[in-house]
């Protein structure tokens, strides 16, 4: 006899929860990057989705044209995307810090459209596939679902990177500088810390996280120029729910919303596409600073 939860076979529930966990891993790593950038630069990086797409393309192109394998790509692509972020900060964003936040938002949004357009022109929208590395071929039968090894790896890799980042920010000296720069950059400079350099490197790191997520996603989803814009809207909702700039909040909220979305697919599939936004609206009404955010 099949075990049921609220009339739903437990297999289906667990299966969707696992899929939710995989999606949640992507939400977590992307919203973490956004949260770090927003915390220090006060800029909502609308290019984040395009940078995620760039990561996937960097991995795909280095494999296809240069024969660079997955593991090297997993390191190389975030470095390339991070370097692109550093150039973007130095050449463009830096000129906008003294202006209203809106200008940074418009610039990053415009850049996202430009990047998407360029790749659309070069590769079309039909999608390219990235072969799963040999070591991750196959999977394991968990009883309630078949879990491909690669998807298990995605969960492990992204959670490891998320919690390592959290640890560095909350528990180390380097992180203390970052927290201090977020709260009072002027005073930190008066102590002799090169805050402009910190801002550049932090932006680079946040962007590299998006690139890393892009490489992880390449073998699962189609590599397409629009892969980022489809995902990033949900991620922005995650950031709003978690609270702008909250590090742990962005990780926890990312995973939790992935799971909630998965459950919604079981109990009320019609709502699965909007559940995140309904939660966002409720959070904005009841706790505008977000679940983990501090009221200003």
């Amino acid at each position: 006899m099949m075990i049921q939860v609220f009339g739903v076979p437990i297999q289906a529930l667990l299966g969707q929860l696992l899929i939710g966990l995989i999606n949640g891993s992507f939400y977590a790593i992307l919203s973490l990057g956004l949260a770090i950038i927003f915390g220090l630069l006060n800029i909502i990086n609308f290019t984040h989705g395009a940078q995620y797409m760039l990561g996937a393309f960097a991995a795909w192109m280095s494999l296809t044209y240069l024969g660079v394998n997955y593991w090297v790509g997993l390191i190389l692509a975030p470095l390339i995307v991070g370097a692109f972020g550093i150039l973007m900060e130095r050449l463009m964003l830096r000129r906008l810090y003294h202006l209203d936040h809106l200008y940074g938002l418009l610039l990053t949004f415009g850049l996202a459209l430009v990047l998407e357009g360029v790749f659309r022109q070069l590769y079309g929208v039909s999608g390219l596939s990235y072969t799963i590395p040999d070591i991750f071929q196959g999977g394991v039968n968990l009883g309630f679902m078949f879990l491909p090894y690669y998807r298990a790896w995605v969960i492990v890799a992204s959670l490891t990177v998320c919690f390592a980042t959290w640890f560095v920010i909350e528990r180390t000296k380097l992180g203390a500088y970052l927290r201090a720069a977020t709260e009072n950059p002027e005073l930190l400079q008066a102590f002799g810390v090169n805050v402009p350099l910190m801002i550049t490197l932090t932006f680079g790191y946040g962007v590299a996280l998006a690139g890393f997520a892009g490489v992880l996603a390449a073998p699962i989803y189609q590599v397409t120029p629009v892969m980022g814009s489809n995902l990033i809207i949900v991620v922005f909702a995650v950031v709003v729910i978690g609270g702008m700039g909250s590090i742990l909040g962005s990780i926890v909220t990312g995973i939790a919303l992935g799971l909630i979305e998965g459950m919604t697919k079981v109990f009320y599939p019609e709502a699965s596409g909007v559940v995140v936004f309904v939660i966002m609206a409720l959070v904005l009404l009841l706790r505008p600073a977000g679940l983990f955010g501090r009221e200003k």
Binding site: E183, Q189, A190, F191, G192, V193
Partner: protein, 237 residues
């Protein structure tokens, strides 16, 4: 300029602006090594702005600020502290996202010869007791001690202290006084912005009186009594 031994700070014709508003109108003063000099004046006379301009926190400034023989007027803020200067802001500037000990360890060590963490904890036992607490959970007095203590680690020999007694209970003011005179004995050079005239009198070598963004008078501490009437008029006390 006053005759001093080795000059650690020399400020010449310092002007500073907040946007359109011109707040310093040509400040001139100097501080010799080991001296304790106060900046006195009414609210808005430009004392805090003088300290902020020296450390680079008011970006729009002109004139000359020579720290330890190095011109600092055109340096970005993060390059000024490494000339050997420590800054304790009026609002204390304790970082809420950091614990007490993280706040204490935050300013990078600039030169050798700063105090060790043990020495600092020996001087401020309260901070040791509360080292794991969030920095802004400390009492006002403890936060003031923390703001002062954290620049003693860095090896800076010139300290800019802004209103370190403001809003503190008399017993804490006494403690701050003991600490500052001990720092002076240790050879630190100190520029003290102070509202509490009696506090300053017990510690300083010289006083500069500011009015409307200018220095209007320099008084040696031992000539203070003779100038008391004029000083009271300038300070409006």
């Amino acid at each position: 300029m006053h005759e001093v031994g080795k000059e650690l700070l020399r400020v010449v014709d310092l002007h500073a602006y907040y946007g359109e508003s011109h707040v310093l109108h040509g400040i001139d003063f100097n501080v010799g090594e080991g001296e304790l000099v106060t900046l006195l004046g009414r609210n808005g006379s430009g004392r805090t702005s003088t300290l902020k301009s020296i450390i680079g926190l008011i970006p729009k400034r002109s004139g000359s600020v020579i720290i330890n023989g190095h011109e600092a007027i055109n340096l970005p803020p993060y390059k000024i502290a490494p000339l050997g200067i420590g800054y304790c802001p009026e609002e204390r500037g304790i970082f809420p996202g950091l614990t007490t000990e993280e706040n204490l360890l935050l300013p990078p060590v600039l030169h050798s010869g700063g105090m060790t963490l043990e020495e600092i904890y020996a001087m401020f036992p309260n901070l040791k007791e509360r080292r794991a607490a969030q920095g802004t959970r400390l009492s006002g007095g403890e936060q003031q001690m923390l703001a002062l203590a954290r620049i003693l680690r860095t090896g800076a020999r010139l300290l800019l202290l802004d209103e370190v007694t403001e809003g503190l209970a008399p017993v804490i003011v006494e403690t701050m006084g003991r600490v500052i005179s001990m720092l002076k004995e240790r050879g630190y050079t100190i520029v003290l912005v102070e509202q509490n005239f009696h506090f300053a009198k017990g510690l300083a070598d010289r006083h500069y009186v500011l009015e409307h963004g200018r220095i209007v008078k320099m008084i040696l501490n031992n000539e203070l009594e003779a100038n008391l009437d004029e000083l009271h008029e300038l300070l409006g006390v």
